[in-house]
């Protein structure tokens, strides 16, 4: 029962996994099953969050989708086409901001546009637009070393948006931030999503973060990583931080926690 949740949704899935397996060869020669039989589809404009303990393969799932890693078997497709490598249609954000310290904030945001040979004048306008959306328009000429961790991560988010990607992949983007900055960033990301209508997959091990941001939450269990639950989060839009204290929010969080505990627990 996948209900349309954003105005920009279309019929074709934005991306999807079918019977996905991933096996790693460990150093002693044995096989480690990282992902077993993972399958779900995500619609255009949907914000899906993947939550699970460390070692459940959620990052591997994201890396396969980003084309940085190959699946052992099964299929991955974006916009109906099979993933064979990194795609121009994708923007990524990692846990560390990974900015280039010798480039200014604006030059950092322009990196994907330069790589893909886009019109730099147009890209600069878009970069400034997204920098404004993350509240950093006055920092365009600063260097990353002059910014706080939260500000650096916001630059990373603006960079992911600069080519207007069909799909945004975020791997624990706020994992390194303190709790208060993290809440602020969650709210900002939510607003950014509401304004742009982008399709986003965000991987996290924070259940409240997954519920707050997600239209749907994919719950994964560890060793071997598999999907144990997919939950539609029926909370109104736009969301506010007050919602975190409501009973409905709490019900979602405790439901997911119970599911994870039954499957082996959160680390």
């Amino acid at each position: 029962m996948n209900m349309p949740l954003t105005p920009r949704q279309a019929q074709a899935p934005a991306f999807g996994f079918q019977r996905l397996h991933k096996v790693f060869r460990s150093k002693d020669g044995g096989d480690v099953i990282a992902l077993r039989d993972v399958g779900f589809e995500v619609r255009q404009g949907e914000f899906v969050t993947v939550v699970g303990p460390s070692g459940c393969g959620k990052s591997t799932l994201l890396r396969i989708l980003a084309g940085l890693e190959r699946a052992s078997s099964g299929t991955v497709s974006i916009g109906g086409r099979a993933v064979t490598g990194p795609s121009r249609d994708i923007g990524v954000v990692f846990q560390a901001p990974v900015l280039l310290p010798w480039r200014t904030v604006l030059q950092n945001v322009l990196v994907p546009a330069q790589i893909q040979g886009r019109d730099i004048k147009v890209a600069t306008e878009r970069a400034m637009h997204y920098l404004a959306l993350v509240g950093l328009e006055h920092f365009a000429t600063k260097y990353p070393g002059e910014l706080s961790g939260g500000m650096q991560q916001r630059v990373g988010i603006a960079r992911a948006f600069v080519n207007d990607p069909m799909l945004l992949l975020m791997d624990e983007p706020f994992g390194a931030l303190d709790a208060m900055t993290r809440e602020t960033m969650n709210l900002e990301l939510h607003k950014l999503k509401e304004r742009t209508g982008a399709t986003i997959m965000l991987v996290t091990h924070s259940i409240p973060e997954a519920v707050f941001l997600g239209d749907r939450v994919v719950v994964m269990s560890p060793r071997p990583g598999r999907v144990t639950q997919v939950i539609d989060v029926d909370l109104p839009h736009p969301r506010s931080l007050d919602m975190i204290n409501t009973d409905r929010f709490g019900t979602y969080v405790s439901g997911i926690r119970a599911n994870l505990n039954a499957a082996g627990g959160l680390d």
Partner: protein, 294 residues
């Protein structure tokens, strides 16, 4: 000297140490600021220089050391003035500087190019690096006579010797630098569909620059050694040639004067390199800590 604004309770003030209670420890004690002002630091440096010179002077006088063996600072200063007044040094200084700079330029260029090639490819490293290391383990001083034999008593042989000495630290640091890019930085570039050339130009190369400058800094100082070693083996001009000449005529003060000139050359070249590095790799301030392969 008590610069504290707060009256301090210390044994010096008369109270026995036992009288200090735990509560006293909480009172912030104003201390001398850690950073000295620039003027005071310069004054201190000048004062220390005078002290060293004085110790040197009086040690020579009191121990009655022969000026033929170890000259005092005044004799060295006199020799230094003579060296420049007679104009004799100009020609030799020019020759040695040319050897240093030309040798450095060639050595650094080859180090950079070969380092960039080896840093890019594990295959090239496997094939080439053993020879590079074997070449490096041969003491250049031992090879110097060969170079003089091949390239003559002129400046060419010194340039070659200097280049071989400069080559290795630049090469080694370039290789390490090109491989120092963090994994997630490269992964991010790849996720944005970067080609290997993009990764090289946008990440690996700038990431390598602090290491390259560390190598160049080592190289420029070694270049001075290279030129002098070459001139020792056989030369018709240059500061190394001049040292040998002074040595034959038992002019210890004259030799010291040339040594002073040599160390000044090294100092100036090193400062120049640091000056350039600070402007090129402005985002990091610790390039000298990354040295390797000297």
């Amino acid at each position: 000297m008590n610069t504290s604004a707060i009256p301090m309770k210390t044994p010096r003030d008369g109270a026995p140490p036992e009288a200090l209670s735990a509560a006293d420890a909480v009172v912030p004690v104003a201390t001398e600021p850690v950073g000295l002002t620039a003027a005071r630091r310069r004054l201190l440096m000048a004062g220390f220089f005078v002290l060293v010179m004085a110790v040197w002077h009086f040690a020579i006088v009191l121990l009655q050391v022969s000026p033929l063996i170890f000259p005092g600072p005044l004799a060295v200063a006199r020799a230094l003035v003579e060296l420049f007044q007679s104009g004799e040094i100009v020609k030799h200084l020019g020759v040695t500087l040319y050897e240093i700079l030309a040798g450095f330029a060639f050595g650094a260029m080859f180090g950079l190019v070969l380092g960039a090639l080896i840093g890019q490819s594990a295959l090239l490293e496997a094939v080439l690096y053993p020879y590079v290391v074997a070449f490096q383990t041969v003491p250049k001083v031992a090879v110097a006579p060969l170079f003089v034999l091949w390239f003559g008593f002129d400046t060419t042989s010194k340039v070659v010797i200097t280049a071989t000495i400069v080559f290795f630290p630049v090469l080694a640091n370039t290789i390490v630098g090109l491989r120092s890019a963090p994994r997630d930085q490269i992964e991010l570039m790849k996720a944005f569909t970067a080609s290997p050339w993009h990764v090289f130009r946008m990440v690996r190369l700038p990431q390598a620059l602090p290491y390259v400058f560390a190598g160049l800094d080592i190289g420029i100082v070694l270049a001075v050694i290279g030129a002098i070693v070459g001139e020792f083996v056989g030369a018709q001009a240059g500061l190394g040639y001049l040292i040998l000449q002074r040595n034959f005529s038992m002019d210890a003060a004259g030799m010291f004067a040339i040594l002073v000139v040599l160390s000044l050359i090294g100092l100036v070249l090193h400062s120049l390199m640091k000056f350039i590095a600070r402007r090129v790799i402005f985002w990091t301030d610790a390039f000298t800590d990354l040295s390797r392969g000297a």
